[in-house]
Amino acid sequence: MGTILVIGEIQNGKLREATFELVAFARQVAPGLGAEVKSLVIGHGAQALADDLAKKGGGEVLLADHELLANYGVDAYNRAVRAAVEKTKPDVVLFSNTPSGWDLAPRVAAALDAGFVSDAFKIEAEGGKPVFTRRVFNGKLDARLSVSALPVVATVQPGATSPHAGSEPGSVTRLDVAISTGDLKAKFVKIQTAEAKGVDLTKADIIVSGGRSLGGTEKFMEIIKPLADALGGAMGASRPVVDSGWLPHEYQVGSSGQTVTPKLYVAVGISGAIQHLVGMKNSNYIVAINKDPDAPIFEVANLGVVGDLFEIAPALTKAVKDAKGL
């Protein structure tokens, strides 16, 4: 019988929800792959977390516990995962697509000379092998990928499924990982938490966000700001707007910006890459303006306008002003 190895992840002293989502995916496909689920917990002083994972579907849980594993570091974590792979000989290794998952998983795949799939949001079993679905072209297309040889290493998009809820009997085994400070070519120094923002979008009732298609600060201020002002709302932006220096970082909405839940979110010329969607999809009501009827933003929008933003947004601004008698 084969093995699906779930790589658990600790954040702020707890196992991430994404770890239990991996367990859910693993348990869904395990019968079709004729495999059993095993897991790995990497950390320091993590016995209780490993016990918890074992009780919540992680199966036989390996615990790599070492003071040099207290924080994520690519060399030490690589050793821990490789030791677990050595021991369990998995057909499928699953990581969460988080900053440490995407940092380490491809290295493990290269070391094993194995296939690699990143940021999958669906896993199915077909003919005894896993089939993955993921986004390509920054969310504009979906791709279905099959695997010609096992093992395969994959990262899975956080939030793509619900965390495993059942409880199965499991066990915890300690895994010895030999590491010393001298082995570390990349050293963890510290984590800096986000500084307080001058602009707090999380408190805005209405947000009008613009994307890369605006083309520059000038157009952004000409199209987005007046609409936000007319609605009495705040301005927001997708990442390329901030990367290009059109607006400061505090306006960025998304996984590496702010997570917002306004009463109304208007996305203007934003394609709807997953990293943007996670920051705004829980808004109460979403209006999207985009010239591409296949843009993924329409998946989360309540109301979609297919058309040219340079025509529609100013017309909407005028209509709002007229309605308010401004």
């Binding site: 390509v136 609605l231 990367d243 979609g304």
Partner: protein, 261 residues
């Protein structure tokens, strides 16, 4: 000091994405290509290290791809890179991430750079895999999602985590950095730069030249794309098409209904 920058040429971000007839990728004929957005930031960062060190570090740009890739390499040379290596081989078209990493590893072994700069991910495949894979094959430390670089005897970088948090990591050289977009403001190639670039060398290499004949390529792909297709539409979205007046009227009506006007 030598710096190597890995550049991928990808379909222009505004190019039409039509699925080609076999359904497994987009139709790439007659569309515009550009340097992968992440890689422009990687190149800029390498050029800044060069500038900060009196112009002495050599910046070598490397790209795997068909003939059209020379355009991307010329642009990079115009921006200030010193030399280019173009890996051109029918078997190198359509390599998967591990195949690309193996090819780049062969180039890196010949060049032995102090630092390899890459993009975090490609705008077409979105694998975000080649960087860490290449680091593993070379046995060097790496960091992904790099948003700040300070270079001394060692390299100190800031990695972007989630929701604005940053991780500070120190790497010994040689090392590989896979950069996130926005870590600098990317320069344009100046006219003088473009003229100078015409004299700079682009070396073309085949897989045989790199000792990789028959070892990478379509046949050794471990993961196969079965099909690509537009994402399914959400169930909730009401899509409005029509005259500007009509659609704006409907949006306004909705905003009123929400009690936000």
């Amino acid at each position: 000091m030598k710096l190597m920058v890995c550049l991928k040429q990808v379909p222009h971000q505004d190019a039409r994405l039509d699925v080609r007839s076999d359904g497994t990728w987009i139709q790439e004929d007659n569309i515009k290509f550009e340097i992968n957005s992440y890689d422009t930031f990687a190149l800029e960062e390498a050029l800044r290290v060069k500038d900060a060190n009196g112009g002495s570090p050599e910046v070598v740009v490397v790209s795997i791809g068909p003939e059209r890739v020379t355009q991307a390499l010329r642009t990079a040379l115009g921006m200030g890179a010193d030399r280019a290596v173009h890996v051109k081989d029918a078997d190198a078209d359509g390599v998967d991430a591990l195949g690309a990493a193996k090819i780049l590893a062969a180039v890196a072994k010949a060049e032995s750079p102090d630092v390899v700069f890459m993009g975090l991910m490609s705008d077409d495949g979105n694998f975000a895999a080649v960087g860490p894979m290449l680091a593993e094959l070379l046995g060097v430390p790496h960091a992904t999602s790099v948003v700040k670089v300070s270079m001394d005897a060692a390299i100190t970088v800031e990695r972007e985590l989630e929701a604005g948090a940053l991780e500070v990591v120190e790497l010994s050289k040689p090392a590989l950095l896979a950069v996130q977009t926005g870590l600098n403001q990317v320069r344009y190639a100046s006219l003088k730069g473009i003229m100078a670039a015409k004299k700079k060398p682009i070396e073309t290499k085949s897989l045989a030249d790199l000792g990789l004949a028959g070892q990478v390529g379509a046949a050794s792909r471990r993961v196969k794309i079965e099909k690509v297709y537009p994402p399914p539409k959400g169930t909730g979205a009401e899509l409005l098409k029509g005259s500007t007046d009509e659609v704006v009227g409907k949006v306004l009506g909705k905003i009123k209904e929400l009690g936000l006007l």
